[in-house]
């Protein structure tokens, strides 16, 4: 090629340059799916001893005894699921309210500052929220929220037992603070992607703003909102630090929301660095692998749902 004539040489260089460049960029982009794949394989290998020994029993038994090499994560699964469900119960209605406010009701000049503040809430590190949880939220829950709940709804098993402050209820509260920005961000984007013609049609029929939202915007955005909920759920399931700091870290299954509990991310955070013995480490990695598979599945589902309403950025611009 070096012996070719001048013009040809330039063109060839340009073409091979393009080909190499394309390959380099493609390799970088492909790194992401490769990393996810490597992650699953690496965790599988590390968790293998525990997977072989316990298989599915791991998920449905409750004995967590590192000394006796018995590992069952049911209480952790329970804690993770219940605290996340509690968080969504609080965060989804609130977040949808904010999204409707931001996309349908708010005057334009207020939209940017409010959405910026919500983004800021998402940007505050988990450990800082946890610190605030320990020293502000936990005392408040112990002295104000739990006694009040007990006095009014104490006949339900959910609100029995001594008000400790640390426990499932506080974890759910703090998780709701942490996932609400995700509900808001995604569902606002989804609602704003609803074509204006939909709203105008409803308004032309004499609908008020709320009726427009209820009959034109929300149904159109439904699958995207569902996606936002799944996204928030995945966040809640995997959230570690703030929950670890307020949930009490006791592996037990209790009906009361006041009782301390434990979650999968919390047990990994607390015990992994000190775990001795291959089976112990493998069991913790196994728990992490379960978490990984569940959150990846939820995120994939959420993205598919959201993409049905909001297309890629290039399509929005058109």
């Amino acid at each position: 090629m070096a012996t070719a004539q001048g013009g040809r040489l330039v063109r060839d260089n340009a073409q091979t340059g393009d080909a190499w460049f394309h390959l380099l960029l493609a390799a970088m982009a492909a790194a992401v799916p490769l990393v996810i794949g490597t992650m699953v394989v690496a965790l599988l290998v590390a968790a293998w001893p525990a997977m072989q020994r316990f298989a599915a029993r791991f998920l449905i038994t409750s004995t967590w005894d590192p000394v006796a090499n018995q590992f069952g994560v049911l209480p952790f699964v329970y804690g993770t699921v219940v605290s996340s469900a509690l968080a969504l119960l609080i965060a989804v209605p609130l977040g949808l309210g904010v999204s409707i406010f931001l996309s349908e009701l708010v005057p334009g000049w207020l939209r940017t500052p409010i959405s910026f503040l919500v983004e800021l809430l998402a940007a505050i590190p988990s450990v800082v929220i946890g610190l605030w949880g320990i020293f502000v939220l936990v005392p408040w829950v112990r002295t104000a929220a739990e006694p009040a709940l007990q006095a009014s709804l104490g006949f339900l098993p959910l609100f029995r037992g001594p008000p400790l402050g640390v426990g499932m209820l506080t974890a759910g509260l703090i998780l709701s603070v942490m996932v609400v920005p995700f509900v808001v961000a995604v569902s606002t984007a989804v609602m704003r992607a609803v074509p204006t013609a939909q709203r105008e049609a409803a308004q032309a029929l004499g609908a008020t703003r709320w009726e427009t939202t209820r009959t034109a915007v929300l149904p159109y955005a439904r699958s995207g909102i569902l996606g936002a909920i799944f996204l928030a759920l995945a966040r809640a399931l995997g959230e570690t630090m703030a929950v670890t700091m307020v949930i009490g870290n006791v592996p037990q299954i209790r009906a009361s929301l006041f009782a301390p509990a434990y979650t999968i991310p919390a047990v990994i955070a607390n015990e992994f660095a000190e775990a001795t013995g291959d089976l112990y480490v493998a069991a913790l990695v196994y728990a992490g692998l379960v978490l990984l598979v569940v959150t990846v599945a939820m995120n994939a589902l959420a993205r598919l749902l959201v993409n049905r309403v909001v297309q890629g950025p290039s399509l929005i611009a058109e």
Partner: protein, 281 residues
């Protein structure tokens, strides 16, 4: 009919009020956290905090100098891994948007963004700590760097896509090969946006704790090598917050204030930079 209309109107106003209340309620924790941080953190901040090593357990005094440099080191290591892959990958997504690789990578980046940070820690542990047999700054950097990739990639994609098609066509019309067009014309045009995206992503990982617990591990002294455990601000805040000592609680608040100040400043600057860019367009 009239009562019906009145009912519909009050429903409209009622729901507006409910949505407004939701917004206030959602922003209340933010205000509370910031208020407590300012109140408790400011009084605990002093010169020692920035210049001294942590004191012995339970003794008042000492600072987080090693944790601050540790966090900077970890961010640097993470940047070395995450920024090149993120920027080049993002450029690919924007310049070759319809290829199969792009579609899969874009989706995978969104999914990866939602993988719990503690799992990233497990990944780095299996990948780096297990073969090297001890906790290290390198492992922490890898855990954070991997988290950096999807965010940097997606923001880069969006910013590079904003570069007008005519700029590319002008360069290509001059006979400049495509790779040179991308590197010397398109990317420089988008630099401000790319840097902004990187800054926000770095600020985000600066506060990550979970992936560092069993990779960087923390260190009470100065770190001498990237193959040794290293301290980090979030790790120190966590350790101090759950300790039984009042002075350590105080220092945890100070550390949290520093961390949040960094995040706030970077995010506000980024907001300002992007709004200006949009206006210029």
């Amino acid at each position: 009919m009239d009562t019906r209309y009145r009912w519909r109107r009050s429903m409209d106003q009622g729901m507006t009020l409910v949505c407004l209340l939701c917004t206030v309620l959602v922003l209340t924790p933010l205000a509370l956290v910031l208020a407590f941080l300012a109140q408790t953190g400011l009084s605990a901040l002093n010169w020692d905090f920035f210049t001294k090593l942590p004191g012995a357990a339970g003794e008042p005094g000492g600072g987080m100098a090693n944790a601050i440099t540790g966090t900077l080191t970890l961010i640097g290591l993470a940047g070395c891994l995450g920024i090149p892959i993120g920027v080049l990958g993002g450029t690919f997504l924007s310049e070759y948007p319809q290829t199969q690789v792009s579609r899969i990578s874009r989706f995978a980046a969104d999914v990866m963004n939602g993988i719990p940070s503690i799992v990233m820690g497990l990944f780095a542990y299996v990948l780096i700590v297990l073969p090297l047999r001890h906790f290290s700054a390198l492992a922490g950097g890898v855990a954070l760097g991997v988290m950096l990739i999807p965010t940097v990639m997606r923001t880069t994609e969006e910013v590079v896509r904003l570069v007008p098609q005519s700029v590319r066509e002008a360069a290509l019309a001059l006979g400049i090969p495509q790779w040179k067009t991308t590197l010397r014309v398109v990317l420089p045009t988008a630099t401000a946006g790319i840097v902004t995206g990187i800054m926000v992503a770095l600020a985000r990982i600066a506060g990550e704790t979970a992936p560092l617990l069993f990779t960087a591990f923390g260190n009470r002294f100065w770190n001498r090598s990237i193959l040794q455990p290293i301290a980090a601000l979030p790790l120190q805040i966590f350790a101090y917050a759950i300790s039984p000592f009042d002075d350590w609680h105080r220092q945890a608040w100070a550390g949290a204030l520093v961390l949040v100040a960094i995040v706030l400043v970077v995010n506000t600057l980024a907001r300002y930079a992007t709004s200006r860019q949009v206006r210029l367009r």
